[in-house]
């Protein structure tokens, strides 16, 4: 396990090549670049169908300097289970080098994880394959053009949850996927945020070190789908944590810990107003989101046993 205390600890090697077709300002590219720095060359990546998959492998080009496999949308976890098993059996039989440890990493978006891929993910977790599953969460089906997913937050606009008189964006809150994963009682589950790269990288490193499945849920601000200027991705990621719309935590062998403490949190409107997808919400709707977050904060603080997320300031 590499210990990451600051950017100077990051390996210099780059396994994610430039020249891919991700949108300007897309923070998914940042996540992948960091992920591969931590995982290193002895890594096999299984990518679910997603933005990253289509924009990094346009034949005959590829951005991947490590072995990479894409099968379909809903089965990345199943394919990774197969790879992990194959490597174990082939090493045992001496067909491949038994001395080499290979990281198996799944990279999937929110649609491929929360919705269509949940079954195969659950199967992989239950069977206990040594695979690190990285969910980069941009809170909608961005690859097909911003449609609502199980991850889309309350009242967010998407092309299938428009804001009108009869419908006010998405009417349900975000599904707590990391907790659903944690309920499988796997060794390591964490939430991370691309705006906190050191925390994120440390979690990648931990996730790769455990015996068994690990799951890293990374918030990935999306300029195209969230409707903000491409230069603000990291700023919005930070606002998510500062408003407690997003909480960075980890659960190591059942022990829950908040890794980014927020002594005083901002009102959610700072986060919402920075993005076009929440434009047009009424004061009441914004307060509804705030109340939802207040309850979340209360729940998390109770879980930890101290006030890790502080009181609200405006």
């Amino acid at each position: 396990m590499i210990r990451i205390r600051g950017v100077r600890d990051l390996p210099r090697e780059e396994y994610f090549a430039p020249g891919h077709g991700l949108c300007a300002g897309c923070t998914a590219g940042t996540i992948v670049r960091h992920l591969l720095k931590i995982a290193g060359r002895n890594t096999i990546v299984v990518n679910a169908t997603s933005c990253v998959e289509v924009s990094t492998t346009m034949y005959p080009y590829t951005s991947w300097r490590v072995p990479w496999l894409h099968v379909a949308f809903e089965n990345a976890a199943a394919a990774a289970s197969g790879i992990e098993t194959a490597i174990r059996v082939l090493a045992r039989k001496g067909i491949i080098d038994p001395g080499r440890s290979v990281n198996i990493v799944v990279l999937a978006g929110d649609g491929g994880t929360y919705d269509i891929g949940l079954q195969s993910l659950s199967g992989m977790l239950e069977r206990g394959h040594r695979v690190m599953y990285v969910l980069y969460d941009n809170e909608a089906y961005m690859n097909t053009g911003i449609q609502r997913s199980g991850s889309t937050p309350l009242h967010a606009w998407t092309t299938t949850t428009p804001l009108g008189k009869a419908m006010r964006g998405k009417i349900q809150p975000k599904k707590p996927i990391a907790e659903i994963v944690a309920a499988h009682r796997i060794p390591y589950v964490a939430t991370a945020n691309v705006a906190y790269p050191i925390d994120m990288d440390q979690k990648f490193s931990k996730g790769l070190s455990v015996e068994g499945p690990s799951f890293i849920h990374v918030l990935q601000p999306c300029p195209t789908g969230w409707r903000f200027d491409p230069r603000y991705g990291i700023k919005i990621g930070r606002l998510a944590v500062e408003t407690a719309m997003w909480i960075n935590w980890e659960m190591e062998n059942g022990n829950f810990r908040v890794t980014t403490r927020v002594p005083k949190r901002k009102h959610v409107r700072h986060y919402l107003e920075a993005q076009g997808r929440f434009r047009g919400l009424t004061k009441e709707e914004i307060e509804e989101i705030q109340e939802y977050i207040d309850k979340e904060v209360e729940r998390i603080n109770k879980l930890v046993g101290e006030e890790v997320i502080g009181p609200r300031i405006d």
Partner: protein, 406 residues
Amino acid sequence: MQASVERVKTPYGIEQTRVLLNSNYTAAYAIRDVGVDVIAAYPITPQTGVVEKLAEFIASGELDAEMIHVESEHSALSAVIGASAAGARVFTATSSQGLEYMHEVLHIASGMRLPIVMAVATRALSAPINIWCDYTDLMNARDTSWITFIAYTAQEVYDSLIEAYIVSEDPEVMLPAMVAYDGFWMSHTYEPLYIPVDREIVRKIVPRRSRITLDPENPVTMGSIVGPDYYYEIKYQQVVAMEQAYRSVRNADRIIEDTFGRRYEPIEVYRVEDADIAILTYGGIYGTLLDAVDRMRERGIRVGAMRIRLWRPFPAEDLVSKARNISTLIVVDRAISFGASISGPVALETIAAFHRVGSSPDVISIVAGIGGRPVTERDFEGMVETVFKLGRRAREIGTLYWGVRG
């Protein structure tokens, strides 16, 4: 259950044991003898026996492999895709709804050119739910670019699975292969067959070959997105690989014959040399058909039997040359292509095969045995009598739905 009855030697000196097995267990024995690394499967009737027996082989140490107990057939095929991409020799098995649930992944397995082998105990499709045999499930997988064998005895299930690995792993082919056999009629009924005493013989004829895999030493991108400027060529390579698969199957037939003394042909025939009329079918009912032909011959009817053993690639030239002297060819399908001009999928294929050479016998499509309805000797005799009686009208009807109450 393996009741060893006798041991025989082939002319080439290979010692074989005569055992009594159903086709599900036979499939498991073949996979044990070939030697695989990873198996992933999900339970579905009537396929389950294959996986249960393989689990026993793994538990007893007879097979050094690992089984991934996936949560669906979709994941079963996806997991073996991952394992195969990582360099493992893999196997899966399914039936009916399971094959349908795999459907999108069937195309991915072949498009990725992975040598995956699957056993299919054929079964009717829902709705209404029916667990008994027909071939509508297999026929739905027709265009997925899988090499497809249809066996009619347990012995052939054993031999075809060995052939499936020989062909799939042929560097000139690199396509997945499935071996189908009747659900229940074969999957659950016991037949005698020969298996080699020393399974190293099987390992020798299916040697491990090196191929491109997910290897950190040589990183490759597998399953990338391909646009209109390359996609067509990649698909055309599959067309060429399928053509090559035919030659590879013939080579595998020779290997099986040389090793075990058992001979297979893509189109098998019985008493067609002087026949005016013949029945062409596939799967377990061919055995019944052979008896029916003998009975009709005793009554002076000049009838023969034909069987397709290789469904994909379709052996059109073999079919045409072997049916050369037949004036009426009845094709009995246990599958329905709803709304097609001819409802029998193999009947349609047969007509297409003759179309290529210009002249054709009268091809009569008969659908029978749907949802596990038995097809007996008497049924085959009745089909021939009916076709004689109808004369030219038989062809005009399009498809005869044999035995349907309606």
